[in-house]
């Protein structure tokens, strides 16, 4: 059997609720003197075990605040876990927020190079892929317009085209498929589907249950930082829907 591409063992992320509200030196000292620095622990993730192998399309379901985005951030290496161990093999393309590294003052052309560098691509590589990026995002006429004059959908398009220009080993997608118009959404889905056939491991967060059902093979349901159900995408989706019906 293949080595798992992503492995999480008992991963936890804990926030100290109280400490985070102290934003100044003075406040800190006063609170310390008044002994108000009692910490209140909040488990954003609690004992997550996970193992994904090459080619898995993995869906994460859960209500708002269940820890979905935190889990993605831990896997992407943005957030260091408080406890537990995480191993990832291969390069990761995080689509957590499209165009996170864009500077609105710069033009689309300049942003493509900047964002490429942020994702770790060399200038030469972006040069060679520049046409592809522009074609996919369909922004030919506006290449030298500052990004602040773009619509948010167009910004998201550029972000998606850059992030998916290589075949990453791991692609992390956080509810971004809901941006852009219908036609572009379809285009993104196609591209992700074509990546799936190329042995890329995809992690997908979405509130559209059908999307998870159609695209994923495995899934988990998160609640209050814990995995409460895991299995095939079909099963997890059915279970999630049945939970929703109970509440109603």
């Amino acid at each position: 059997m293949d080595e798992p591409i992503i492995q999480l063992n008992n991963v936890s992320v804990v926030f100290d609720l109280h400490k985070e509200r102290v934003s100044g030196l003075k406040e800190y000292i006063i609170k310390r003197l008044k002994r108000e620095l009692k910490s209140e622990k909040f488990y954003a993730l609690n004992g997550i075990d996970l193992s994904l192998s090459k080619g898995d399309i993995f869906g994460i379901l859960g209500n708002n605040g269940a820890g979905k985005s935190t889990l993605l951030k831990v896997i992407a290496g943005i957030l260091a876990p408080t406890g537990g161990k995480i191993v990832t093999r291969g390069n990761i393309a995080p689509l957590i927020e499209l165009g996170a590294g864009f500077d609105m003052e710069l033009t689309a052309r300049e942003n493509i190079y900047l964002n490429g560098a942020i994702l770790g691509y060399s200038r030469k590589f972006i040069d060679s892929k520049f046409e592809d990026i522009v074609n996919f995002a369909e922004i030919h006429e506006f290449l030298d317009v500052p990004l602040k004059n773009y619509s948010s959908g167009m910004v998201a398009r550029i972000g998606f085209s850059i992030a998916t220009i290589t075949e990453p080993d791991i692609l992390i997608v956080d509810e971004i498929l809901s941006v852009g118009d219908y036609r572009f959404q379809k285009k993104c889905e196609e591209r992700i589907k074509s990546m799936m056939s190329e042995d890329t491991t995809v992690i997908l967060v979405s509130h559209q249950i059908d999307q998870i059902r159609n695209m994923c093979n495995k899934a988990v349901l998160l609640d209050k930082g814990k995995i409460i159900y895991s299995g095939t995408a079909e099963d997890v989706c059915d279970y999630y829907i049945s939970l929703g019906q109970e509440v109603v």
Binding site: F15, E20, S23, G24, L25, K26, Y28, K73, A76, G77, I78, L79, A80, I92, P94, I96, E97, A100, G101, D103, E105, L106, E110, Y113, L114, A117, I118, L119, G120, Y121, S122, R123
Partner: protein, 257 residues
């Protein structure tokens, strides 16, 4: 050291970040980066007008004396002041993509290095204008600049990581910077300070690098071993402390931005 290997790996990003900041800074200004030349020049003219009569007998070439001090001081002030904000400004990015976080303060220091190199054009202009004869040692002018660059990176790393947790430091540091101007002997000769307390200035790292530069470019002498030792120790100490403090807090930064 792993640190330097990683920086080298991210050199493209470093270049793009510096380019971005330069572009954004000078976008829509007609003179663009030429402001880095004019700014110290204009400042020098005013200062020369006010102070050169006062220190006429103690400082020859007051414009050059002032300009060299001012540019090195401004280098430090800009590099550290910008680096301090490096993490906070790029908060949105740090939350969404994994990048070694120290890239941001370091890119700000690189940005001011570029600015400073342009400011040195002002020095060249004044040298030509005053028909000042450059001593051969002035070819080594890059050494104090480089040392100051590394010193600023250390301080920048330290400040940027602490500022994320305690925003008050922004205000404290701006006061510290303005006090430092007066302790760096940019516009007065160090001899006017009573000998008893002169050490405060002599051992001020900013002044150490300023006098290093002046020795090479204005006085035509190479600083002695002791002066070199101090200059290098400051630079090493700052890098090591800055790096260690940054590393210690690195994982918590995300939660406070």
């Amino acid at each position: 050291m792993k640190f330097f290997v990683e920086i080298f790996r991210y050199r493209e990003l470093l270049r793009e970040l510096v380019k971005r900041d330069l572009k954004v800074k000078y976008r829509r200004s007609a003179l663009g980066i030429l402001w880095s030349v004019f700014n110290p020049l204009l400042f020098m003219m005013v200062t020369t007008f006010i102070f050169s009569a006062m220190f006429k007998n103690q400082i020859e070439n007051f414009p050059l004396y002032f300009l060299s001090g001012q540019i090195i001081y401004a280098f430090f002030a800009e590099a550290t002041g910008q680096a301090q904000m490096g993490l906070i400004e790029n908060g949105a990015l740090i939350k969404k993509v994994y990048i070694p976080k120290y890239i941001f303060p370091i890119s700000k220091a690189c940005l001011s290095l570029v600015n400073t190199l342009f400011s040195l054009v002002a020095v060249v202009l004044i040298i030509l204008f005053m028909r000042f004869e450059l001593p051969p040692t002035s070819i080594l002018f890059f050494i104090p600049i480089l040392l100051m660059f590394m010193f600023s990176i250390g301080i920048g790393l330290l400040l940027s990581s602490l500022t994320v947790f305690y925003r008050d430091i922004i205000h404290i540091y701006s006061v510290v910077l303005s006090v430092l101007t007066f302790f760096s002997a940019t516009f007065y000769p160090i001899e006017i300070i009573p000998e008893k307390v002169r050490g405060v200035i002599e051992y001020n790292p900013i002044y150490v690098y300023i006098s290093y530069f002046r020795d090479l470019v204005l006085n035509g002498q190479i600083p002695d071993a002791y002066h070199n030792l101090i200059a290098i120790s400051y630079c090493m100490a700052s890098m090591v402390i800055g790096y260690m403090v940054f590393r210690k807090n690195e994982n918590k930064i995300l939660l406070y931005i």
